[in-house]
Symmetry: C2
Subunit: 431 residues, 2 copies
């Protein structure tokens, strides 16, 4: 019934034999890795470092990334966001105009052969504001919400924690354009709700705090979403009364909780996974982005911007969801749903494993099938735990005898033998 | 039944009110535009130029782009491709190693603040070959096929035809790795078939010719896919016997058709929309990418690479599918399937239009709903023709009287009045 059903179907490989998968787990932790997520993503074959702060995403890692991307895209669409794609090569003059050509010290700058200067976009206010100017004439053209999911660049001095702080990284940035400050504020609340849905779906909401941060020269506060973890480079103070938090950078100037006035705080280390900002007229003033109101008066457009770093989010998901054996992917972000592990040592068991694989494939489920020969059960289980797919399904001589499979959730200790037909029935109902 | 059904559903906005869409058509053709696709994509509000050769994709353009992307992704998955995502910042030493640091004169080069030099990746052999080296040990690890869909950079001297020749552009590149030349050749044929499926689905196959081109120093020939259009910057010679073609650059050295030996050719202008190349050991030799064969001997890995420029493909689709009024999007690449145009001038007709919109939405169809007030029928039709969605569905006082809608295919002259219930029934059956 859906027009492009075929496209959506083809968007991912639903099932894959591990013998074909481009990946290798590492037994040793690479010495450059210091934090959990960095270690696990390298060891599990999700990413590979090219140079400091610059990573390739391998098939498993890119599948997880695209799951995260689609969750974010869906939530952006839900609040009226329209997706655009903006250049990385920004002409110098736009950055001179806003003053950030000199203000920001982490810009990548380059000259072309005709000696024109460019910035590799670390953010896109300098591009999207002039773009909006081409389309906005009157109040009737407002509001609108544009977002992009694409690579950005920053010369990070401290590129040392894997995807937590990269020099080349994928960002979602949403920019909103409004006639009035009130309308901006209303939309700002909508984005807050969308962000909570995103952080809930990717499995980090419980450890994430809405955090007051500096608003710059034009707003009292901005907000960050900070997720508690020892790998975090930020320090936040969680209000023990209302559960919102304050970033250390502004804590000294705000002894009381800006939300409830509370005075008791708990200090914690955290990662900033998102930030939202009322830019107001900061950029519309520079680029002369005006509209004509109902009375024919010329007014400046009010703007907001709302970011999420996808690589950092992926690393944070791993920081929050792991144990001593490896990653525990939340269902919606897992590269595959099921890890089918064959311990077959003879033809009959191989045939049974192939049959189970086929049945799962027929259900349209996302299955990684460990069909590899010459690996011990111990090796296979260790790798499965490291990769961390939500369900491990084992087929062996033992399970074949009972026409069963052994099912284990990655986030539980115990496993259960289930008759194959019952198991498939259960999957049909639940997925 | 599909696990991530919700994600796939959310991947696109299925329906949108034109009053909310971030776009404006231009009545005048921008003076920088020379070729059809450039004019139409600018006038229709699909893209916007930032600087010469560098474009923003606006919501309509980005939707078309993602349709194209998903078609390509699907066909890559179908031939066993595994998607990866590779960095744009390439350290200089990799490019020095292959000699292309000095050989290629269109590289964007930059230094960071610590004076390390980088290339902005125009292609990724220099990254993917060392990456493969981390994963390939023996013949058992081969073959595999990795592809990426992402932005690349080239200092094009002639950045003048819009998306046909950009400085920053989205490419799909597939790289294949094999133990033997025979296996490479076998896969090369598979990719050919996949490319034909892609060009068929995006609506340019009939005008596209498999074309012999230079194979460089290590292969006799490579192949290009060349699409006939006056906007093309290439010249090809089509063999009148077998229908394959030869690029002008090698025509002088091959008076006979390399495929059938034919000697009668027709000269034509064309755009290169894809190219496939047997790299063989060119890069594996440089990066020492070996494997151990069954006898324990060390051998070089054989490689192939296979590119499609997505922006150029989008422009080519427009070059091939248009008339004097605007674009005629092939169904699979259209930003929306249906353009619902309301000519309502009173409440009753508005209600009827809203009802039709709701019904189409319920069917899960992709609809752009021109709900705008204060535009004449003539203006709305002209814009609909310019944007070029496959089906135009008009609701007006006249159609309401007959409980009907007026349906017109963009690629046909005539329209037909259809009873709403019959129309919905037909849609249900066909989509």
């Amino acid at each position: 019934m859906f027009l492009n059903f075929e496209d959506f179907f083809e968007l991912t490989v639903y099932f894959m034999r591990q013998s074909n998968l481009f990946y290798k787990t590492l037994k040793e932790t690479p010495k450059e890795a210091s934090v959990f997520s960095h270690k696990l993503l390298l060891r599990g074959g999700f990413i590979s470092q090219l140079v400091s702060g610059v990573y390739s995403f391998l098939p498993l890692g890119w599948r997880a990334m695209r799951k995260i991307e689609n969750i974010i895209r869906g939530e952006m669409n839900r609040i009226g966001g329209q997706e655009v794609f903006l250049p990385s090569l920004h002409p110098k003059d736009l950055w001179v105009k806003t003053g950030r050509w000199t203000e920001m010290d982490d810009l990548y700058k380059l000259n072309d052969s005709e000696n024109r200067s460019f910035v590799l976009g670390p953010t896109h206010e300098e591009v999207i504001t002039p773009l909006a100017k081409k389309f906005v004439l009157t109040y009737r053209d407002l509001p609108f919400y544009l977002y992009q999911i694409q690579t950005k660049f920053r010369q990070e001095a401290r590129a040392k924690s894997g995807l937590l702080r990269g020099r080349e990284f994928i960002m979602k940035d949403l920019y909103s354009f409004h006639a009035t400050e009130r309308d901006l504020e209303r939309y700002y609340e909508k984005v807050k709700a969308a962000y909570w849905r995103i952080f809930s779906r990717v499995g980090i909401k419980k450890k994430t705090y809405l955090t007051f941060a500096s608003g710059g020269s034009f707003s009292k506060y901005s907000h960050e979403y900070q997720t508690l973890t020892d790998a975090g480079e930020d320090t936040i103070y969680i209000c023990q009364n209302c559960g919102q938090a304050v970033n250390k950078e502004i804590k000294n100037i705000t002894p009381h909780c800006p939300s409830c006035g509370g005075t008791k705080f708990e200090k914690a280390k955290a990662i900033e996974v998102g930030n939202i900002f009322q830019l107001k007229t900061k950029f519309s003033r520079v680029f002369d982005l005006h509209y004509t109101d109902k009375n024919g008066d010329k007014k400046l457009v009010m703007m907001g911007c709302y970011g999420i770093g996808l690589g950092r989010l992926m690393a944070t998901i791993v920081e929050v969801n792991n144990d001593e054996k490896g990653i525990i992917w939340p269902k919606e972000t897992a590269p595959f749903l099921i890890h089918l592990v064959s311990l077959a040592k003879n033809k009959k068991v191989v045939e049974f494993a192939e049959k189970v694989y086929k049945k799962l494939e027929d259900l349209g489920l996302e299955v990684l099938y460990d069909d590899r020969k010459g690996k011990s059960a111990g090796e296979k289980f260790a790798e499965a735990d490291l990769i961390g797919l939500p369900y491990r399904v084992v087929v062996s001589e033992k399970t074949l005898k009972k026409k069963s499979v052994e099912v284990k959730r990655r986030d539980r200790k115990s496993s259960a033998l289930m008759r194959l037909d019952k198991f498939l029935e259960a999957l049909k109902k639940n997925f």
